[in-house]
């Protein structure tokens, strides 16, 4: 058994005993149940709504767009998405009307008696059709956002290569599939204020959205996060919609309203990972050095702008990978279709472009006859090199060591050669090994953290505790535990004396959204500063000496509170000196720091059943200081499992913009019987940012598995698809097409 000297999960006992209260576990007196009436067509004009006989409509609260007291928008970045559709439909499942009633079954039945008269018009459902403007479904050109990153002279770089190799790659949508569906309870009080309790990642995002819908000042809108059964990005922006809907029903009925989505509804209408398309042109000289990279990257954003511009930004910045390439152009667009809007999902655009680049690296290596690891070693970033945005790398990523570790752990280079011989003897099962080399920027992009200007607080209580105040949410990743570790260490008291306040906009400051691998690194760093500042206050007043025990700390804080009324320390984010970002030209320091990683997969491909099995998976990453090994490993293992699903099993089947396989029966995530062994290793070399030098890790593990696995398939078969997900039937089609050509 491992020796453990780290605290156990703060809310672990209550989760393990079933005492934690998730949103559907709460019942309020006089509570109604709300449901959404949705469009079944992807695009069209709303002609009318009729309420068919057979239902006593007096018993139900009915909300339409005309009932909205403020603006009919869901505020994210642009204001293009209505809270309730009033004239046009832009995607299947778009909400036109809301119903609430005493009994959930009765409201669900009543929903079937509402008839929407919609004059359907043709929709578009692919990036190609959107780019070709087969129909213009958003703005004047279907383009939500476009970026270009330029480094050096790409035309020169391409012509400088002895070989130019092109390739096109695509990735599918992916459902977050948190086990707890979306849900909220809303209450509009007589004094005109709104309170929402719910399963969500970003309380202040929801507060902002509700303020627009109800035209209310912040003090009149309270958002409380209840225990949340997984998010992975899926509960970043969508809670603004379901919260607004429940709040409107409460506003009209004057009663609390609970809205809980069924699994099918959740899968059909809430956000998913953006499908992507990439075209890469790469020039390489005789020594294997990449001389030029021209990367065209596209995302399907769905019907409304939502977060697509930011997802595109991260995908664009990560497209050139952790390689030192003199001449780069990355050109990207997020385009509109009539799919329900795509949104945040762990990795946030990076897994898409990294898949394309890392697959292309293996395709190029094969074409040049170079070992794929050697090819990467020639090109990886070293300290002092610059990224595609011109960011000078201030720390040594240490890729050569990461590659050596992969070799030690898996016998990588030996196997990549010996499998070829072994495969000749085995006509059915072919073995392969492959890897991906990548980085992931921690925290918000560019000046994002400066704009957020997050605030974190610490407050000492009279009864001998210190309360952490932040809006960062615990969604399973361990934020509560990390915060209590950071605060206890900064204050010099035990973790048991630190209480992490429940995120509630009436009680905690805005520490920013729980996204972008930023909670430990950025918010944790503020917390560490708040702790030092609180201790320094106690020392300055003479209540606390240089060396102290926990008892002395609380005696001192008690004295301070007696004399001055309260003991608090609030700290706001300030950009570290030296970070420069040019938003206009996408040049400069895209992220304060990066996690550096090499992931490798060993696979068996059955050429009779076309099944691909991952036999071994190694995830090696340099992430700075590891705050809590068990939690950190849990993040990586969970992310890798999602990445394996992204590559091999999780396929959204679309029909006219609607997900057809909206069940856990036919949208396949890995069970315990399917998941490969996932071996996780941390390097802790560069400890320059974050509390005690801890860099962000939440999204990192989503980036590497898919390209590593498909590269392993290429090693096994000689060639492999340029797309994911690659289910057995997809591989079959690919192999049959390859053998024909």
């Amino acid at each position: 058994m491992k020796k453990r000297s780290f605290p156990t999960r703060v809310e672990g006992v209550s989760k393990l005993t079933g005492k934690s209260k998730y949103i559907d576990d709460l019942k309020f007196p006089n509570m109604l149940h709300g449901v959404s009436v949705r469009s079944s067509v992807p695009r069209g004009k709303i002609k009318g709504v009729s309420f068919k006989p057979g239902i006593d409509w007096e018993k139900f609260t009915i909300v339409r767009a005309s009932d909205i007291p403020g603006k009919n928008v869901i505020q994210v970045i642009l204001d293009d998405q209505p809270c309730l559709a009033s004239s046009h439909i832009s995607h299947p499942g778009e909400v036109v009307l809301l119903l609430a009633g005493e009994d959930r079954e009765e409201v669900l039945k009543a929903r079937d008696y509402v008839e929407l008269d919609i004059e359907a018009s043709p929709g578009i459902f692919s990036i190609e059709d959107s780019l070709a403007k087969k129909e213009v479904v958003w703005g004047s050109d279907n383009i939500f956002k476009e970026y270009t990153i330029t480094k050096g002279d790409v035309a020169k770089g391409i012509s400088a290569g002895s070989q130019v190799i092109e390739g096109s790659y695509s990735t599918g949508a992916q459902e977050q599939l948190y086990i707890e569906n979306h849900g909220v309870i809303a209450h509009a009080s007589d004094d005109g204020s709104i309170t929402v309790w719910g399963s969500l990642q970003c309380p202040y995002y929801v507060q902002q959205a509700l303020r627009e819908v109800f035209s209310l000042p912040p003090e009149k809108v309270r958002v409380v996060q209840t225990e949340t059964g997984g998010g992975f990005g899926g509960k970043e922006d969508y809670p603004s919609i379901i919260s607004s809907h429940a709040a409107l029903l409460s506003y009209k009925s004057k009663r609390p309203v609970k809205m809980i989505y069924s699994r099918a509804e959740d899968m059909e209408v809430t956000t998913k990972r953006h499908p992507s398309m990439s075209h890469i042109k790469m020039a390489v000289d005789k020594k294997g050095k990449i001389t030029g990279l021209d990367f065209e990257f596209f995302l399907d954003g769905g019907a409304y702008a939502t977060l697509s511009s930011v997802v595109l930004s991260r995908g664009t910045i990560h497209a050139a990978g952790p390689y030192n390439i003199e001449n780069v152009r990355v050109h990207s667009k997020a385009v509109a279709t009539n799919h329900p809007p795509f949104g945040a999902f762990r990795g946030f655009g990076a897994p898409q472009s990294i898949f394309a680049l890392e697959r292309h690296m293996d395709v190029v290596a094969k074409k040049l006859g170079i070992d794929p690891v050697e090819f990467r070693k020639i090109n990886v970033l070293k300290i002092g090199d610059t990224t595609a945005t011109g960011q000078s790398i201030a720390e040594e990523p240490g890729y050569h060591e990461l590659f050596s570790t992969v070799d030690e752990l898996m016998d990588f280079s030996e196997k990549s050669k010996s499998f070829a011989i072994q495969n000749k003897k085995n006509p059915i099962v072919k073995k392969g090994i492959g890897l991906a080399c990548f980085f992931h920027g921690a925290g918000f992009t560019g000046s994002g953290e400066s704009y957020l200007a997050s605030i974190v607080g610490l407050e000492a209580t009279r009864d001998g505790q210190v309360v952490v105040k932040a809006s960062s949410t615990e969604i399973g990743q361990g934020a509560n535990t990390i915060f209590s570790q950071v605060a206890s260490s900064a204050l010099g008291i035990s973790e048991q004396s630190v209480i992490v306040a429940r995120p509630d906009t009436s009680n905690v400051p805005n520490s920013g959204p729980t996204v972008a691998s930023r909670t430990t690194m950025v918010v944790g760093d503020l917390l560490e500063k708040a702790g030092s500042s609180l201790v320094s206050t106690l020392r300055t007043t003479g209540f606390l000496g240089e060396v102290y025990t926990e008892r002395e700390f609380f005696e001192a804080s008690g004295k301070y509170i007696d004399q001055f009324g309260s003991l608090k320390s609030y700290v706001q984010y300030k950009q570290p000196p030296g970070i420069k970002w040019d938003e206009e030209n996408y040049q400069g320091d895209a992220y304060a720091t990066y996690a550096w990683a090499v992931y490798a997969a060993e696979v068996s491909v059955n050429t009779l059943t076309y099944e691909t099995k991952v036999d071994d998976f190694v995830a090696i990453q340099e992430v700075g200081h590891v705050m809590h090994p068990t939690l950190a490993e849990g993040q990586i293992e969970g992310g890798v499992a999602q990445g394996v699903g992204y590559a091999l099993s999780e396929k959204v089947v679309w029909e006219e913009g609607l997900m057809k396989n909206s069940q856990m029966t036919n949208y396949i995530m890995h069970t315990s019987a399917d998941v490969p062994d996932i071996r996780v290793y941390f390097e802790e070399k560069n400890q320059n940012y974050g509390p005690k030098g801890a860099k962000g890790i939440g999204e990192l593990p989503m980036d590497g598995p898919a390209p590593a696995i498909i590269n392993a398939v290429q090693n096994a078969l000689g060639s492999a698809p340029h797309f994911i997900p690659m289910l057995p039937e997809d591989l079959m089609e690919f192999m049959e097409a390859s053998s024909e050509s």
Partner: protein, 159 residues
């Protein structure tokens, strides 16, 4: 669901009488009638296992079982696993080994592990993987759940 009948169930050792429609889901009896909200609903169609409980010692998805089918049975939910003083060994092992993250699949997962360890006190990894395969977890990638279960099986005071 207007027609109602009386059903007697023993839940976590206590005998309870319910007036319910024969087709009422056991999940609703547990969550709504009995207010034992540790048992979760994740999909409502027997795929995710978040609603797992033990009926006469057997692991079932309570979203698929009508109350009439389990009349007079003994039901164990997550609330009955720990005693008031301390966690059961399996809960302690999940806590110490990172077996729970968001916690939503956790009650069902713990009951699935209990069910396995009662039948097979010293399972190997493959047996653990198979026994837990009806319970989906999106957070952990399962590895820490396997470790939690195996380490518990090696503890002396395992029940």
């Amino acid at each position: 669901m207007s027609h109602k009948e009386e059903f007697t169930l023993k839940i976590n050792g206590e005998t309870k009488v319910f007036l319910a429609h024969p087709m009422e889901r056991l999940l609703d009896t547990i969550r709504s009638d009995e207010n034992l909200t540790g048992t979760k609903e994740g999909c409502g169609e027997g795929e995710c296992g978040a609603c797992s409980v033990l009926v006469n010692g057997k692991l079932v998805n309570s979203c698929l079982i009508p109350i009439s089918q389990v009349a007079s049975s003994e039901i164990e939910t997550i609330e009955g696993v720990a005693n008031s003083e301390s966690l059961a060994p399996i809960q302690k092992s999940f806590l110490e080994n990172g077996g729970a993250q968001c916690g939503f699949c956790t009650p069902g997962m713990v009951l699935a592990a209990i069910s396995l360890l009662r039948d097979n006190p010293a399972p190997n990894l493959e047996e653990v993987k198979t026994a837990l395969s009806g319970n989906l977890c999106r957070c952990t990638g399962y590895k820490k759940i396997f470790e939690s279960t195996l380490i518990c099986s090696q503890m002396e005071d395992q029940q």
